[in-house]
Each structure stands twice: as C-alpha cells, then as structure tokens.
C-alpha cells in the first residue's frame, strides 16, 4: 500500500483534492457574500428614507416628500386579485391531473404544456395580457387586467406544487373513504384536500411572492408609474411596489435611487414574511405525515 513509487502521485492527488475543496467553498461563499453585499448595500442606501411618512405618503416629484402609499395599496390589491384568480383554477387543474385524468395523449399534452409554460419569460405573459385583457376584453390598464396576467404567469407553478402535495397523500386514505361508500368528489373534498392543503398553500404563497415581485409584465400592460391615488375598484389604474422601484431607479438623481432602495427594503420585508409563512406551513406539514 505504502509503496514509495506511488507517494508523489498520491501527494499530488491529495493536493488536487484539497484545492478543489477550496474552490467549492469559494463558490458557495461567493453566492452568500453577494447576498450579504446586496442586502447591506440596499439597507445603507435606503434606511435613512424609511419612516412612517414614507409608507403613508403618495409619490412626489420632490424626493423629500415622496412615499409609497399608492404602491403598497396597489400591491395588496394585486396580490388579492391574483390569488383569487389563480388559486381555485390552479388547484382545480391539479386535482383533475392527479385524480381524474386518464392516462392518454391529452393528459400528456396538458402536463408537458404546463411544464413548458413555467419556462416562458414573464415579459411574454405581459404581451399576452396587453393584447387579451387590456385590449380584446377591454379591461383597460386596470388592476384586474394586471392581476389576470400575473395569475396566468404563476398558474403553472401553483399547479405543479399542488400536484406534488396531492400526490403525497397516501392512497390508503382514498381507499378507506371509497370503502365506506363515498363518491370520488366526497373522497377528494373530505379526505384528500384537507391533508394536501398545507402543501398546496405553501406552493401558492411561494408563487404569490413571485407575483408580488414581478415588474416586466405589469409594465407591458401599461401600469402607470405616477399614481397619486390608491385603487378603489378592480377597474382602477394602479401602480405596485416593483414598478415604483423601477421608476425611481431609472431616474438619474441619487436621491431617487435612495428612495428606490427604501422601497426595496419594504418589498423585501413583505417577501421574507411570505416566505417565512410558507416555511412555517411546510414544517408543520412535514411533522404531520
């Protein structure tokens, strides 16, 4: 084993191994350092503008008077309507694919199609929303048109995650329900869905957190950037946090950049809260099974 003829080669191989280990660590470290730098950079730029006034004031051309009230309210409207449109349809599609769909070409097409839709760039959904919702259905540049566009955008992700949650429900539950004479829908409604619900909700919250950070499709459908009033109905024009951030970042003045950083901090807090909720649900769910 310890033949001297192998010693140099073995030393070389060990060195290569050690070097590679360091390279791997540097790689992982790179991502974490970038994340830290990004958060610290934004916090340093934005924190001095953060105040209660900033949250409750409307946008203004004067940086010192600008706030994000209309953007926050617009984002809340957008999240509510997007959830209302995408959750039932997404869960319905997932139930169909997992519990009803026969194994045939149509089902295969449906499944492949959903996977492909998940990879379509968000701006293409914006073009679709602009043509179908804003113009063809004449919804105008409204919250509703934006929410429907985002609902289509996150639908594939909701369907795929809901399918996984439904698939994880043990078949014995279904068989027991059928055994006492329940119909298919009764079985799904009373036994499959309640068990799958935490998983479905986790997936939905994560997709909604993607929708809340989307900018490009909403710019496409023409979300105005200077809105000094919150929406009061689904047909009102709107702005959302990411668009307000884009608008301020695109301005040359440094003060507006700092405002953008402050708005980013608010957006990141919202996103982190949503992710924490999703992780909390996931952990409880994992414990139960």
């Amino acid at each position: 084993m310890n033949d001297e003829r192998f010693a140099p080669a073995q030393a070389r191989r060990r060195r290569a191994g050690a070097a590679f280990r360091v390279a791997c660590l540097v790689s992982v470290g790179f991502s974490i350092v970038v994340l830290a730098v990004l958060l610290v950079d934004i916090a340093l730029d934005g924190v001095k503008w953060l105040s209660l006034d900033f949250l409750t004031r409307y946008p203004s051309r004067i940086p010192a008077r600008a706030g994000i009230r209309s953007a926050i309210l617009g984002s809340l409207w957008m999240m509510g309507l997007t959830a209302a449109a995408s959750f039932p349809v997404g869960v319905g599609a997932a139930i169909y694919l997992e519990e009803y769909a026969p194994r045939n070409w149509l089902t295969r097409i449906l499944q492949t199609n959903i996977a492909n839709l998940a990879g379509v760039p968000s701006i293409v959904y914006g073009i679709l929303g602009l043509t179908i919702f804003v113009r063809f259905l004449a919804l105008g540049r409204s919250v509703l048109a934006g929410a429907l566009t985002l609902a289509l955008l996150i639908l594939p992700v909701i369907i795929i995650s809901a399918q996984e949650a439904i698939r994880a429900v043990p078949p014995s539950l279904r068989e027991a329900s059928y055994g006492v004479g329940a119909t298919k829908w009764q079985t799904i409604r009373h036994h499959v869905l309640p068990v799958a619900l935490p998983g479905i909700l986790t997936g939905t919250i994560l997709s909604l957190s993607r929708a809340i950070g989307e900018t490009a499709p909403l710019i496409m459908i023409g979300a105005l950037t200077f809105i000094a009033f919150p929406p009061t109905s689904p047909m009102d024009p709107f702005t959302v946090l990411p668009i307000q951030i884009f608008n301020w970042t695109a301005k040359p003045q440094a003060d507006f950049h700092d405002l953008a950083a402050a708005a980013i901090l608010v957006l990141l807090v919202v996103l982190l809260t949503m992710n924490a909720a999703a992780i909390f649900l996931r952990n409880r769910y994992q414990k139960r099974i």
Partner: protein, 305 residues
C-alpha cells in the same frame, strides 16, 4: 340493489350528476393552461404576421441595424440578438462554474448542517425580484466596473450580465444538485473501493453519471438569462448594436419590448408591431431551449437499478 321508488335512488342519481359536473369543471381548470399557450401563440403569430407583411422576414432576421424609432427605419433583429447573446454568455460564464461547484459541494462535501444553512440562503437569492437586481447592478456593480475599467459606459452589458449570472446561480446549483443526488451511492462506493479520492470520485464518476441533468440545468439557465428583463433594462442600456464589447451600452430583445411599452408608440403602427415580432423570436428561442432541456433529461438519463 334497490327497487324503483326508493328515495335513496334519486339521491344517488343526483350525486352522480354532481360528480360529473365537478369532473367537468376541474377539466376546464386544466384547460386554462392549454388556452394560455394557444393565446400566446395566436397573439404573437397574428400580430407578427401583420408586421411581416410590411417588412420581409429575411430582412428582419438578417439585418444588422435596428432603428424602428428613428426617421430612417431599419428592422434587422441581429443587434438585439447580439445584445441578448452577450448577456446570456456573460451570465453563463459566472453561473456555470459557480452553480456547478456549489452543487458538487452541497451534494458531495457539505455536512447536513451546512446544507441546512446554505440551501435556504440560495433560495433567498433566487427569490429576490429581478428589479432589485437591476437596482444593484446600476448602483453597485456599474460604479465598481467603472472604477476598474475607466472606459466603461454608465450602461454596459457587463453589469447586466454579472447580475443575471448571480441571479441564475441558485437555479443551476439546485437543479444540478438534484441530478447529483440521484446518482446511486453504490457508484460512489465502487469508486472509493478502487482508491479514488473524494475529488476524483466526485468529478470523474458522480458528475459524468449526472451529466444529462447538469446539461439540462445549464440549458434552462441560458433560457432564463435570455428571457430576463428588468435587470438588463436598467443596467445594460437601450442602444441596439453589433458588438462584442461588454463595456458598451447594448440592448436586449426584452429591454426593447419594455422600451416600446413605456413609450408613447400608438397601437397598430409598424413600430408597435415590432414588439410582437421580437416577442415571437424570444418565445421561440426560450421554448426551444426548454424543450431541448426536457428531451436531454429524458433521453440521456443514465438508468440505474
């Protein structure tokens, strides 16, 4: 089971109808995704057809000047493709090595405790909205580049490519890690039995065995970089040009579409129709890569056990 006039029979029939209605409604939910695809294709193709009736498709695909908003109009998409390609190539130069080595580290080296900390951090990196990356590119990466390379423009391809690369690292890492994890333990044990070091086992046995999944993740990542919009709109500029210089301002297909939709271009004009033609090229490119990635995963999967 029961005779005519049994009240339970009517109840059961009602239930059966209800069941059918529910199955129908659920099927319609599934159909929404098909309708979305049909909608995207119909919208892009019909509006692009109107565009191609006025601009020959050959000129569109081979022209090297893109000036729809100038007095002297040219409709050659190559400068936009050039810009998109620069961003995709630059992003992959970062995302491929960093993503793959991160995946190898997480799957082969890291202890469960380290993995439990690192994976959520990567998920956070993946969950940050792209407009935030745009802000980061413009206010942090670009000034840094300008300090190192004095000739760099305020808007430049490098800054956009760097943040897009950072953005897709988590995706490459997580998909490649899944592929590495799927390699059976027995392969590793056999390689160790032959006296391989951890480095040799990881790079000469595990990575080749997982290659199809890794390549699929690369292709998906390129497709994602091509479709990325906000970071490149903010950081890379609005100057469509044929260049290989990363320090110049460029324009990608996505950034052009945003530029037009932000502007005052009236609906129905030739300038307006360009976004559909560019959108169609973008859609075909990304869809093609996604399908290719699925094919590779399915066709070249090494089947173990």
């Amino acid at each position: 089971m029961s005779g005519a006039g049994d009240p339970a029979l009517g109840h059961r029939l009602g239930r059966r109808w209800g069941e059918r209605v529910i199955a129908g409604v659920l099927f319609l939910c599934g159909l929404v995704s098909i309708l979305t695809t049909v909608g995207i294709v119909v919208v892009l193709v019909t509006e692009s057809a109107a565009f191609f009736r006025r601009i020959p498709i050959g000129e569109f695909l081979t022209g090297t000047r893109w000036t729809p908003l100038f007095a002297e109009q040219h409709f050659g998409i190559l400068p936009l493709l050039n810009g998109t390609l620069l961003i995709a190539v630059g992003a992959m130069v970062i995302a491929l090595p960093v993503g793959l080595t991160s995946a190898i580290y997480l799957s082969e080296y890291a202890s469960p405790r380290v993995r439990k900390v690192v994976k959520p951090l990567l998920e956070i990196l993946a969950g940050i909205p792209t407009v935030v990356y745009g802000y980061f590119a413009l206010t942090f990466v670009t000034p840094l580049l300008r300090a190192v390379f004095p000739g760099t423009g305020i808007f430049n391809a490098a800054s956009g490519a760097i943040v897009v690369g950072i953005m897709i690292v988590p995706m490459v890492a997580s998909l490649s890690e899944d592929a590495l994890n799927a390699v059976p333990q027995s392969l590793r044990e056999a390689a160790y039995g032959l006296g391989g070091t951890k480095f040799e086992v990881s790079t000469r046995v595990v990575v080749p065995a997982a290659l199809s999944g890794i390549v699929a993740s690369f292709i998906l990542a390129i497709s994602r970089a091509i479709g990325e919009t906000m970071a490149v709109t903010l950081a890379a500029g609005a100057t469509p040009r044929m260049t290989l210089n990363f320090l110049e301002s460029i324009q990608t297909m996505t950034a052009y579409i945003v530029q037009i939709s932000l502007g005052e271009t009236p609906h129905g004009t030739l300038e307006y129709q360009t976004i559909f033609a560019v959108g169609l090229v973008l859609f075909v490119l990304t869809l093609g890569m996604n399908i290719l990635s699925q094919r590779i995963t399915r066709r070249f999967r090494e089947a173990y056990e």
